[in-house]
């Protein structure tokens, strides 16, 4: 059996349906209609110890729901999860000792006092013994370069500093699995780099299994050797980044700067078109249409004052992928 074994996982939410306006609100108060939403539908995968897996998908695809079920916060409607021979929901207290969770948008640090105090509280929560705690803390502090940072009240920290403290906090009890839900959200390039390097380092050093969700495709590119793509609750792709590129990596983003307006057109190979302030952005598939014929085609209708072609970017790839699966 694999380290993480997920079989036919499903979760449905009941959401109250209401229209806008006061009248509708009153109406829904009396007679509320519910709509079932399949947040996760029949998802299965296996993950081995020491892997870094990028779990990606657009907003509302079911990423967070899956992560919550893996952490034991949510109970699946059907299907099974086995992580390290434990069922997250059934054996919550025993299970969560072995996982670390970072919710990028939600802090677990106490706002008004130094992060080090939160660390001390976590020591009590996880019942870590003194010697081990000091050892782990010092190592994490050194690796994340937050020696002075943890002595300041959290409210005075920059986002990057806080996120590094946040990550340290979730690793104090040396979990064998780390869940990172958008760990680099809102960080600048330097902080992102630091966080990424750190994740790679602990993965190498301690064989920590990392499951990562992110909208920043550079995160995924830098960290994950394997990608699981989810859309509308279903698993769409599971494989390495190279597989993904081989399959869909024929997309280019073409930015055209022009003052003219371009009327709608349908051309094979043009996946996506967006109007910007200064012109248009296209995603095109170079297997179906060559750059030169595309530019020629557009050039017939508008006066192109500048052009930018963005090669093999993973963001484009994902946009194409979403389109392919119609999500």
């Amino acid at each position: 059996m694999s380290f993480i074994d997920v079989n036919h996982l499903s979760k449905t939410f009941k959401v109250a349906k209401r229209n806008s306006g006061l009248k509708a609100a009153l109406k829904s108060f009396v007679n509320r209609k519910y709509v079932s939403i399949d947040a996760v539908k029949d998802v299965s995968f296996k993950i081995n110890k020491g892997e870094i897996v990028g779990y990606i998908g657009p907003n509302g695809a079911g990423k967070s729901t899956t992560i919550k079920m893996l952490c034991g916060i949510l109970k699946p409607d059907s299907g099974s999860i086995s992580i390290n021979h434990m069922s997250p929901f059934e054996e919550r207290k025993k299970f969560v000792k072995d996982i670390g969770v970072v919710f990028g948008q939600r802090s677990q640090l106490w706002w008004d006092i130094p992060a080090e105090d939160t660390f001390d509280l976590l020591k009590v929560i996880y019942k870590i013994d003194d010697k081990e705690y000091l050892e782990t803390k010092n190592k994490l502090v050194e690796m994340l370069d937050i020696k002075d940072v943890i002595k300041m009240p959290v409210r005075q920290l920059s986002l990057g500093q806080r996120m590094r403290c946040e990550i340290a906090a979730s690793l104090l009890h040396k979990p064998s699995i780390l869940f990172l839900d958008e760990p680099t959200i809102g960080l600048d390039a330097v902080s992102k780099e630091k966080v990424r390097n750190f994740i790679i380092e602990i993965n190498k050093k301690y064989k920590t299994t990392v499951i990562l969700t992110s909208h920043d495709m550079n995160d995924i590119e830098a960290l994950a050797n394997r990608i699981i793509l989810i859309g509308r609750g279903s698993k769409l792709f599971d494989g390495t980044l190279n597989d993904l590129k081989a399959k869909f990596g024929n997309c280019r983003k073409v930015t055209i700067i022009t003052n003219d307006t371009l009327k709608k057109f349908n051309k094979k190979g043009v996946c996506k078109r967006t109007k910007t302030d200064i012109g248009y952005e296209f995603i095109i598939d170079i297997n179906l249409i060559s750059i030169s014929s595309f530019v020629n085609y557009v050039g017939e209708y508008v006066d192109i004052s500048d052009i930018d072609i963005d090669s093999d970017n993973i963001d484009n790839l994902i946009i194409k992928l979403y389109q392919e699966y119609n999500i």
Partner: protein, 258 residues
């Protein structure tokens, strides 16, 4: 419990971060409740007694209930604000930690500035007892302690019960205020001064009477029934029920997907 005390230390540290505001709040909280006492004193200067209870008897009863309420307000504030924990998603964080949910909820918030209320209640309690001219013996002291404990237990149980329900309603329940603030307003007086059905309700449904009436008669020497003396222990049944409700609802709780 080690977790709770560790967190308590951190709450004290947080209060120290905002020195001036903590001091001002501490003093303000002290005066907030004084107005209540003035009303009682004004009332008695007019009427002399209420259904045979004198001013100091009422003050003592009042301070016992207030003390139970204030202790909850200071040390178990996390439970009072539990619906916030659910709404802002903090509850998910509690679920990924290997500790009991209740302890974590209690540790999440403490309102230290309100300790001034506790000090005030104890002051008024001692002042009333001195003026009551009672013969205090060991049993009576025990009964008094039981009344205080019972008062803490009742308010705690109500908060717990309401927290259990807020798993389903998500939004905080105003009905909670009905039982805590409203109940407190009633329970501050020995319930005998009210109508029969109110007495029954506050004996068997929300057992304030077990704290401030039956044992109180014994304490004042108006009744010798031993059952009356140890009635506050009955609040433990209420606590038990609340614990079960809380446990069952937290097991049923399903967090939202986002």
């Amino acid at each position: 419990m080690d977790l709770y005390f560790k967190a308590l230390g951190m709450h004290i540290k947080t209060s120290c971060e905002y020195k001036l505001s903590s001091i001002i709040n501490f003093i303000a909280q002290f005066f907030v409740m004084f107005s209540d006492y003035f009303i009682i004193i004004a009332l008695f200067s007019k009427f002399g007694n209420i259904k045979g209870f004198t001013l100091y008897e009422i003050l003592l009863c009042y301070s016992i209930i207030q003390l139970g309420y204030s202790i909850n307000d200071v040390f178990f504030k996390g439970l009072d604000d539990f619906s916030d924990i659910i709404i802002n998603g903090m509850f998910d964080r509690l679920l990924v930690r290997p500790r009991s949910l209740l302890i974590q909820i209690l540790a999440s918030k403490v309102s230290l500035v309100r300790t001034s209320r506790i000090i005030q209640c104890i002051g008024i309690m001692i002042y009333s007892i001195i003026n009551l001219d009672l013969e205090l013996n060991l049993i009576k002291v025990i009964v008094l302690l039981l009344m205080i404990i019972g008062s803490v237990v009742i308010f705690f149980s109500i908060l717990l019960l309401m927290s259990g329900l807020s798993f389903f309603t998500v939004q905080g329940l105003e009905i909670k205020s009905l039982f805590t603030y409203g109940g407190k307003q009633i329970a501050q007086y020995p319930i005998a001064i009210f109508k029969k059905y109110i007495v029954l309700f506050f004996t068997f449904v929300i057992p304030y009477g077990l704290v401030n009436y039956y044992p109180y008669l014994y304490f004042l020497g108006r009744n010798d029934n031993v059952f009356y003396a140890f009635a506050p222990l009955g609040t433990l049944i209420f606590l038990g029920i609340s614990l079960v409700v809380f446990k069952l609802s937290s097991n049923k709780y399903v967090s939202t997907g986002s």
